[in-house]
Symmetry: C2
């Protein structure tokens, strides 16, 4: 049974998940499978790219973050999925050995305009490395059930 | 050596990659690693979710698309990476056995405002299933080197 419903989120909500260490092996393995660009795949080739050395695919960072959020929040939430992503910014490369922390906040909560049993929570997720640098931000609306269905907005 | 530089892209540019079949096994394996929500992980549990049956994580669709674009275009392009993603829309679930086709178009090309050796190509990527349904769209600015450095914009 879910612990968290739409009513449990407000613009005062914050959370933090992690740290989660990222290894060289998983950076290369993910890249080989999904994003085989030299800067994500090979240390020597990466030196000659704009990353200046091996760095995780931005998609890999998204996926690692997703797992941290699922374990930390969504598996306990009456979540009905997300219709998409509003914005992703890749600000710093994720290097082998970096430990990632995810900080969550809520920028908006609104009832569905058509369905009284649900609403949308817009989360801002910020990923930090262990040097305190903000490495990624992601803005994502999440559809969440109401604990008690109310009027549509 | 790259085949494609900034000068090779315009709003007339289009491309198509695929088909790429998605298996039940990889949907579940990806979900276990990165997005362990019941609707992506377990057929019986998925029946009771809003997907009404097993469907790939939206992140998985992004990653499969990324691989298709890398193989089809980016590994032959003087790409300098992407600063982020402008928008993702997940429109239809990806089901086990679906074959995905990616269609690419360009919505904007502009020179960098500060660096004369590069510019930005904004790609619209649309993912279709083999029933002709548009399953995902993604708008993404890609930084690309110029073949011949020019004036900044």
């Amino acid at each position: 049974m879910p612990k968290y419903y739409l009513e449990d989120f407000s613009t005062d909500w914050t959370a933090e998940y992690g740290p989660r260490r990222v290894t060289r092996e998983e950076i290369i393995s993910f890249a080989a499978q999904f994003d085989p660009q030299p800067m994500h795949l090979d240390e020597e080739a990466a030196r000659h790219t704009m990353l200046g050395g091996l760095g995780a695919s931005g998609w890999h960072t998204c996926c690692i973050m997703m797992k941290m959020i699922a374990d930390g929040l969504l598996l306990d939430t009456a979540s009905m999925g997300a219709p998409g992503i509003d914005e992703v910014k890749w600000l710093k490369p994720i290097r082998p050995g970096d430990s990632l922390t995810v900080r969550g906040s809520v920028t908006a909560v609104r009832a569905s305009q058509s369905k009284p049993d649900r609403g949308f929570v817009t989360f801002l997720w910020e990923v930090f490395n262990d040097r305190g640098e903000k490495a990624m931000t992601l803005l994502c609306p999440q559809m969440v059930q109401r604990r008690r269905p109310g009027a549509a907005a």
